[in-house]
């Protein structure tokens, strides 16, 4: 019997092959318009950047291959070293604050409270407001003498309120505050979407078992949000390391070079148009700095992937945990040291920051592992 049926099998295989081919073509046709645009205006310049980073190209002349000269110059440049440190100084507190506040807001606004739609919209509003308008309003709020922030601080008894955007010590914290305020709404929406996917029955069962609110968060909400948390931390990290617009409109890298970040440095060495940082047109040099920023973002993303894979219970654990942790610790230690050194903040503050940040990354590994046992 079995030997008499080769024709239908071949026919089925043929049909499946045809179907697969048709599906692939259909898929490509959906992707193509976007991909062509991406390739022309993003991918090609990015690939060229890898080449330009090793040349002395200044946009007008012919580029000459200079090997690692741009990178050696970057390593010697005190402004660039400060920019790297300040990028971490902005990014790490900003990632933690935005992540925590967005999650807290999402949990709060996931409950049945009166006017929840209004509060959700209110939290999302800063994200869709023009960054220029935000800069003007926050600069007014932070105005050292006449700003409401300092008037409030004086009123509650602070004798010498900070100078905020006109003080080299306080400009970065001011930017972190504005950055967090601006982006928390967006990540709140992502967390809200994640919360909706957690089955209600789990909470009801936990309540019946007498679990407290905190335990319900720890054992249901947090593990249930794992895919969302992963996405949020990756996006948030990339966005924080690439921060530019906020700094350009709020402080233009100042006072002095206290809020220079890598993106601002790149801008200033290439097309910069701001009054305090006219563009010097050194596109090769700027590309080298871009490459470093690219690798910082890439490293963080890979680390997050590794950590995420570690905590995924369904997959075999093939990644060497010590290596992943070691890399994270190394990156953070370098950042902490550089920041502490260049900002004169001392080691204790940065040690604390390092511990908090490292802890944040590790929490979900531990929780999920405990659940597994």
């Amino acid at each position: 019997m079995s030997t008499t049926t080769p024709a239908p099998v071949r026919q089925t295989a043929h049909r499946a092959h045809k179907l697969r081919r048709r599906n692939t073509a259909l898929g490509w046709s959906f992707i193509a318009p976007n991909f062509i645009g991406f390739a022309v205006i993003t991918l090609v310049p990015i690939i060229l950047m890898f080449y330009m980073a090793f040349t002395d190209w200044n946009a007008l002349g012919t580029p000459h291959w200079t090997g690692l000269a741009n990178f050696q110059r970057l390593a010697r440049n005190s402004t660039f070293r400060a920019a790297v440190a300040q990028t971490f100084y902005y990014a790490i507190p900003h990632i933690i604050l935005t992540g925590v506040i967005a999650l807290a807001l999402a949990i709060l606004l996931n409950q049945k409270i009166r006017g929840v739609a209004f509060f959700r919209a209110a939290a999302f509003f800063p994200y869709i407001t023009s960054i220029v308008a935000i800069a003007i309003v926050w600069n007014l709020l932070f105005s050292p003498k006449y700003g409401p922030v300092n008037q409030f601080l004086t009123w509650i008894g602070v004798a010498h309120p900070p100078g905020w955007t006109v003080s080299s010590t306080w400009a970065m914290p001011a930017l972190i505050i504005v950055g967090t305020w601006r982006e928390m709404g967006y990540y709140m929406i992502l967390f809200l979407a994640g919360l909706q996917t957690i089955p209600r029955e789990l909470y009801e069962a936990a309540k019946v078992d007498g679990a407290s609110g905190w335990r319900r968060f720890l054992h249901i909400t947090w593990p249930g949000l794992r895919p969302t948390t992963f996405f949020v931390t990756v996006m948030l990290a990339i966005q924080s390391f690439k921060v530019f617009d906020l700094i350009q409109v709020m402080t233009e890298g100042g006072p002095g070079t206290s809020t220079y970040v890598i993106s601002f440095f790149i801008f200033q060495k290439s097309i910069g148009v701001s009054s305090n940082a006219p563009g010097t047109g050194e596109f090769g040099y700027a590309s080298a700095a871009s490459l470093i920023l690219f690798f910082i973002c890439l490293t963080f993303t890979i680390l997050q992937f590794i950590v995420n894979q570690q905590s995924d219970l369904r997959k075999p654990r093939w990644t060497p945990v010590p290596l992943a942790l070691g890399l994270v610790a190394f990156a953070l230690a370098v950042a902490s040291f550089a920041s502490g050194y260049s900002l004169g903040l001392g080691y204790l503050g940065y040690l604390a920051l390092f511990v908090v940040c490292f802890g944040f990354l590790m929490i979900h590994v531990r929780i999920l592992r405990r659940r597994q046992q």
């Binding site: 190209w57 007008l60 003080s167």
Partner: protein
């Protein structure tokens, strides 16, 4: 290793975020040699040139020059290409790399000349500059390695604007044209006290947040910022110390708005002086036309004002006060069609002529050619002050370039810009910050 032309063109295209550069970027030769005598357009043949400008509706100087030239050379038609003023250099660079730049390139900020000239985007016009009248100032700002790449048509310089009504209300004598910085500072404090006593909220003076408002004077009055071996180029900025001490003292004593309040409240100098929040203000001569038009339109209050020379270090320079300002000029695209080159050079020679100067003066622009006739044309406009000191201040001064031309100028300017914001915001003390800036420039740490 040298990169081939096609890849260079592709890079240009990438910069322009488009493929506009590929068509014309791959031309095989760049005509950089002076073509005097070799390319001569016949006088009567019609020629069409393109020229860059910005905010054409509110910046009439380009059309004024074009119209004035039409009378001299009716066969030449010049069409204007408009750019955004805030990103002018960025857009121009994109057009240059993409081969889309106009024939005549307006040089908005002289400090970009070095970048454009060494990148072979501008043509050597030394022959045009050699033929200019002795009354033209500012051509040196466009010199790179001994060759000239631009011709100035406009030369602003910084002056002291004062509000005569506020001086009278305070009972303080108006500037007499012999002021040193000490006179300026003590008068500012005196005015602040007496204006408050007279029930006015105005302060004695206003210093805008730009680094020019302080460093421009310090550099010019030091006198050798164009010297490659001078302290500006080699990094020794102790000479700025007295200027910072004075500005910080005025700011701390309340005689001028603090830097932090200017930057956080985004104060504009036009509103500060125009709405009578200050009795004095150091500003470039471009503000003359703005003030006159704002007083006419009602954007500024109506009050009597005047101009005085910039304060000097001591009395030795009061007869010819030293101030600063960069010219605005025109250059020629290195990729211009050779048949149009002579017409473009003739136009460049025209923009620095007295005819062009009078036309510009008629719309309140300070031309690069100074003469009694030009001053008379500027002061003939309704709304201009009529006192003798204003006219002298406008015409008689030694104007040093704010930004000398050189490879490191942009980076030096950035280092000093950062020092300025650090010092004026009170984040760092002037002595240590100037020492840091000096060290960075010495080490070429950028």
């Amino acid at each position: 290793m040298k990169l081939g032309k096609p890849l260079a063109a592709l890079m240009a295209g990438a910069l322009a975020f488009g493929l506009a550069g590929c068509g014309s970027g791959g031309t095989t030769s760049t005509p950089t040699t002076t073509a005097a005598g070799t390319q001569t357009a016949t006088a009567s043949a019609p020629v069409t040139l393109t020229m860059s400008g910005w905010s054409l509706k509110t910046t009439p100087e380009f059309q004024t020059l074009v119209d004035a030239y039409k009378k001299v050379a009716p066969n030449v038609t010049i069409t204007l290409k408009e750019y955004d003023p805030n990103t002018y250099e960025q857009l121009m660079l994109t057009d240059m790399t993409g081969g889309q730049a106009p024939d005549i390139i307006t040089i908005k900020q002289a400090k970009y000349t070095w970048q454009w000239a060494t990148g072979n985007a501008l043509m050597d016009v030394s022959d045009v500059v050699a033929g200019l009248s002795k009354d033209v100032t500012g051509a040196a700002s466009y010199a790179v390695n001994g060759k000239n790449y631009g011709v100035p048509y406009r030369q602003d310089s910084w002056l002291l604007f004062y509000n005569k009504d506020l001086f009278d209300a305070a009972g303080v004598a108006v500037p007499d044209g012999k002021w040193t910085w000490d006179t300026y500072a003590s008068t500012a404090k005196d005015l602040t006290t007496k204006l408050a006593a007279a029930g006015k909220t105005a302060l004695g003076t206003y210093e805008h947040s730009w680094q020019s408002t302080l460093q421009g004077f310090a550099n010019a009055q030091k006198g050798d910022n164009t010297n490659p071996a001078g302290p500006y180029m080699t990094g020794n900025y102790t000479y700025m110390q007295p200027y910072y001490d004075r500005a910080l003292d005025l700011q701390n004593s309340g005689a001028q708005v603090a830097y932090g309040d200017i930057s956080t409240n985004k104060l504009t100098y036009q509103a500060q002086f125009g709405k009578q929040s200050t009795a004095m203000m150091l500003m470039g001569s471009w503000y003359i036309a703005t003030l006159v038009s704002q007083q006419t339109s009602g954007d500024a209050d109506k009050f009597t004002w005047g101009m005085a020379p910039a304060p000097q270090v001591d009395s030795s320079t009061v007869s010819t006060p030293v101030t600063f300002g960069d010219p605005t000029g025109m250059g020629i695209n290195a990729k211009i069609d050779p048949s149009k080159l002579q017409a473009a050079k003739d136009f460049l020679a025209f923009v620095a002529s007295e005819d062009a100067a009078k036309a510009l003066a008629g719309i309140g622009i300070t031309p690069s050619t100074s003469s009694d006739a030009v001053t008379a044309a500027v002061f003939a406009t309704a709304g201009m002050p009529s006192d003798a000191l204003s006219k002298t201040a406008y015409q008689v001064h030694k104007t040093m370039p704010e930004n000398p031309s050189g490879a490191d100028v942009m980076n030096i300017s950035t280092v000093l810009g950062a020092a300025h914001t650090a010092i004026m915001s009170g984040s760092a003390d002037a002595t240590s910050e100037l020492a840091t800036a000096s060290q960075k420039v010495k080490d070429k740490d950028w």
